[in-house]
């Protein structure tokens, strides 16, 4: 039973992926991409959900999925047009499928008539567009009842069947029995197609033999002399007598199920006369016939019919050979057909001393040799014979699986250990001073290799956890659709960069914040169609969701072309709620950021959608939790842009190690544009009293880290360095540090978790020598400076 549970878990896993896929496909279909590929993908997804559901006996799900699938099939082959109505119905149907899956998973049944309306609509559609008299024009629901009665699977059953005897198909028991003792005669003439599809008369005989007493005669009259052999032709047919009291025609026909159409079969019941089939001399032990050896010894060209009528034991060895090499090409379909008979003949002439086994091997490729084999051997209850080939050692058998599923915990453990390894490695490197380097060159080389390997290992491990943001983005079209319906607005969602990869742990934390942000845009940002028209905008508002990698960060941007933040109201509400003191005059940008303040909600009447007051502050706290930041910018009447800046990974950061005063600090390498010696930099004072740096005609704000962090510095100003960094939206900021020590990798440790949040510091890290260094929060510094200056 636990196996079954495992399969169910796999199935539900798979369902959730398939449902996501459906969402993605329908987002595109809704946008007008109604090509065959998409429809096929949708069909496959529903088909797979149905297939698994059938195996587990989830009949309600099977029923609905089947009706839906039928509709999709009709759409696929053009019988039903993929109109907007049909698309809407399908989207609704996806939800119902999802609900059915959920019901199957939780074991809480849905109402019996759940989805019935939709089912009826599928049905009506199928009926309406199907041509009258169409063989599939029947009631699809009824069709389902017949075709898909779920079969509960007993997973422990098969051993018995596999263990030994030729299995008896249980369909036999189900077929109507004409319990009439009798003799049956079967005339079986295979066509080329039978061999082309890898069916094998021998196997059919084996199965027939399981039905009763069997005699087989090979009809060899049509076999031409060897020289006239046409390699692709089939010359052999068989006459088979079966004797069994309980035998019916249906049972015999069942054996030939797979080869129907690929052969001629005549099944005749002999009038009850208990006369044995007359086995003709050709298949009898033929002592009078010359043996193969004798023929070869006489250097006589053998007649193939003679060869095939060889003595019993010789034929048996031929049979053995035959069974032992099932993978040998079927005669009629050898890759180089013309070679077979010629070489066989040549061999006969040139090698009179051939043993029979060799001879058998030589003639094996001819079309008759193999099928003829069973002719002389009455088969009864044949047991499956194992192939002797495939005896290669089991060691290097790969099983074709392209991916494996690994518990995330295991990956996390590796990630953490690699993190520690990185620290150890950088510690070792630091311990190597000049004297040691000079003395132990081999050790130095080893450390260099270690550094490289560690780096590679780390990249590989992080790549394992990286996933495209698509998995989150794909849930959004549906959200927007729902929001548009609820608010009566017209909203279009554009997504860009959904293949951008980001650490799985980050992705998991992304869904809620993103949902809130999009809700906010739809609810508060985008205006109603009337308002939009009045403002000279297009009726349909656009929300653009994009992801891009910027250095060591991923930027996720939610942008709308709505009304922008109503700053007056935001400020008023903030004052009313005591979020902002009455005497403080925040800047526009600060007002914008207020929407992230805890407990802040501006919606006049709490809307059904986003105005519950637990919206945007959740976004901020969630994002901060994963080491990211949120930035909002708004343009009155034009729209709002919210930017999430997320770390590419939560584990390791490339940094530049600098000194401020006597303490080490690290600056994320990803944000550094360049470093300049202060003596070479051109600073200018600005009227407000601050300092700016001129870099290639651009003025950049200067932040003296020593002053900012209240550190004492005794370094000569001329010997200090400018670290030019890029913050949000490519705005630059120049940090002044006392010294630059070097570049390295660090494992980020949260300051909040271990201490408390400090402005301007993004976290801490432990250096190779065991010291703690703080990570400079470039974005945070820049923002606070802007606010200070503006205030």
């Amino acid at each position: 039973m636990s196996d079954l549970d495992d399969f169910k878990a796999t199935y539900f896993d798979e369902c959730s992926e398939l449902l996501t896929e459906l969402e993605e496909q329908f987002a595109a279909i809704e946008a007008g991409e109604r090509d065959a590929d998409r429809l096929n993908a949708v069909f496959r997804a529903i088909h797979s959900i149905k297939g698994g559901a059938g195996a587990f006996g989830f009949s309600a799900l099977v029923g609905f999925a089947h009706a839906y699938e039928t509709l999709l099939d009709y759409v696929r082959d053009g019988r039903i047009e993929m109109s907007d109505d049909v698309v809407a119905l399908c989207i609704r149907a996806n939800d119902i499928v999802a609900d059915h899956v959920k019901a199957a998973q939780t074991g809480e049944p849905l109402p019996a008539d759940y989805g019935m309306d939709e089912k009826e609509r599928f049905d009506a559609l199928a009926r309406g567009d199907a041509a009258p008299g169409d063989d599939e024009g029947g009631d699809p629901l009824e069709e389902f009842d017949i075709e898909f009665t779920p079969v509960m699977v007993n997973l422990d059953a098969p051993q018995a069947a596999a263990a030994g005897e030729a299995p008896v198909d249980d369909a036999f028991e189900a077929s109507p029995m004409q319990v009439e003792p009798g003799h049956w005669e079967v005339r079986f003439t295979p066509h080329r197609a039978l061999y082309a599809r890898a069916n094998d008369p021998l196997l059919l005989f084996r199965e027939l033999a399981a039905l009763g007493e069997m005699h087989v005669r090979a009809v060899l009259e049509d076999i031409p002399p060897l020289a006239d052999f046409e390699p692709f032709a089939v010359y052999c047919s068989w006459e088979i007598t079966l004797i069994s009291p309980a035998l019916t025609e249906a049972m015999i026909r069942e054996v030939f199920e797979f080869v129907e159409g690929d052969c001629d079969i005549a099944v005749v019941q002999l009038g009850g006369a208990a006369v044995g089939f007359d086995i003709p001399p050709a298949a009898e032990p033929a002592a009078a016939k010359p043996s193969a050896k004798a023929m070869l010894a006489a250097n006589q060209e053998p007649d193939p019919a003679d060869l095939l009528a060889l003595a019993d034991d010789e034929v048996a060895s031929l049979l053995d050979f035959d069974v032992a090499a099932p993978a040998a090409p079927q005669p009629a379909f050898a890759p180089e057909p013309e070679a077979a008979p010629v070489s066989a003949q040549d061999s006969f002439e040139q090698a009179p001393g051939l043993s029979f086994a060799e001879l058998a091997e030589t003639i094996q490729p001819s079309p008759v040799a193999r099928p003829a084999a069973p002719a002389a051997t009455p088969l009864r209850a044949a047991t499956p014979t194992a192939p002797s080939e495939g005896e290669e050692s089991g060691g290097n058998r790969s099983n074709g699986v392209q991916s494996i599923r690994v518990d995330l915990d295991k990956v996390d453990r590796v990630v953490n250990m690699v993190g520690e390894l990185v620290i150890t490695q950088s510690m070792l490197t630091q311990q190597m001073d000049e004297t040691l380097r000079a003395r132990y060159t081999e050790l130095v080389r080893g450390l260099e290799v270690l550094a490289q390997t560690t780096r590679g290992l780390q990249d590989s491990v992080m790549a394992i956890r990286a996933q495209p943001v698509k998995s989150v983005f794909s849930r959004m079209p549906r959200l927007v659709r729902e929001l548009a319906t609820k608010t009566g607005k017209k909203i279009k969602l554009e997504t860009i960069g959904e293949n951008t990869e980001i650490d799985k742990t980050v992705i998991e934390q992304l869904s809620d914040p993103l949902t809130h942000m999009i809700r906010n845009s739809a609810d508060h940002g985008i205006e109603t169609p009337d308002k939009r028209l009045a403002r000279g905008k297009s009726e349909t508002g656009t929300i653009r969701l994009s992801a891009e990698q910027a250095g060591g960060n991923i930027l996720i941007i939610v942008e709308d072309d709505g009304a922008g933040i109503n700053r007056e109201r935001v400020l008023q509400v903030a004052r009313d709620k005591g979020v902002v003191a009455p005497d403080v005059n925040p800047t526009e940008e600060q007002i914008d950021q207020l929407i992230f303040a805890p407990g802040f909600s501006t919606a006049e009447a709490l809307s059904d959608i986003s105005g519950r007051g637990v919206g945007m502050d959740v976004v901020l706290s969630n994002i901060k939790k994963i080491g990211g930041s949120v930035h909002v910018r708004s343009w009155t009447g034009k729209g709002t842009r919210m930017t999430l800046r997320l770390p590419l990974t939560l584990a390791v950061l490339d940094v530049m190690l600098v000194k401020v005063g006597e303490s080490p600090y690290v600056v994320p390498l990803s944000s550094i544009v360049e470093t300049i010696q202060c003596s070479r930099a051109s600073f200018e004072r600005v009227p407000s009293g601050g300092q700016v740096l001129q870099v290639r005609g651009e003025y950049v704000q200067v932040i003296d880290l020593a002053r900012r962090f209240e550190m004492v510095t005794e370094t000569d100003p001329e010997n200090r360095f400018v670290v030019l960094c890029e913050a949000e939206g490519s705005a630059k900021v120049a940090l002044i540090v006392d010294d630059i020590i070097g570049q390295q990798q660090v494992v980020i440790k949260s300051l909040e978790e271990n201490f408390e949040r400090v402005d301007g510091i993004a976290g801490g890290t432990i250096l190779g020598d065991g010291n703690v260094a703080l990570i400079v929060d470039v974005q945070g510094l820049k923002t606070t400076i802007v606010h200070k200056n503006a205030a």
Partner: protein
């Protein structure tokens, strides 16, 4: 008795898992592929005694897969069973026309599955 090797090709992990369970319990060695293309890749390097393939698959569907297998030099006599929920004749016929040896109807009963395999494999 040498172990029979079965290549199972299906885009549904559930079906692959169930086939794997049923077949390995019955003493088969099971290889897996998730679409026709992967299936062909497996056959390039591995020898199998029988192939079980789904029809509806992404990248390369079962029909194409069977055609490709049959077009390959040494696979003319490799039994290929079509795995399908379609009881309608057309899919089955397409599969057969492409070179399929027989078929298995999903949801499959384990005993029946094994018996069908023995029907096409020595």
């Amino acid at each position: 008795m040498t172990t029979l090797r079965v290549l199972t090709v299906d885009d549904s992990r559930t079906i692959l898992a169930m086939l794997h369970h049923t077949l390995s319990n019955a003493g088969f060695e099971v290889l897996q592929a998730e679409d026709g293309k992967q299936g062909l890749d497996v056959l390039k390097t591995e020898t199998v005694d029988v192939v079980i393939t789904d029809i509806n698959m992404p990248v390369m569907d079962g029909i194409e897969f069977i055609k490709n297998v049959r077009a390959t030099g040494n696979h003319q006599s490799l039994p290929i069973l079509i795995l399908t929920t379609e009881t309608s004749q057309d899919k089955r016929d397409q599969g057969k026309a492409a070179g399929g040896t027989g078929w298995i109807v999903k949801p499959f009963d384990p005993e029946k599955l094994i018996s069908v395999i023995h029907r096409v494999v020595h």
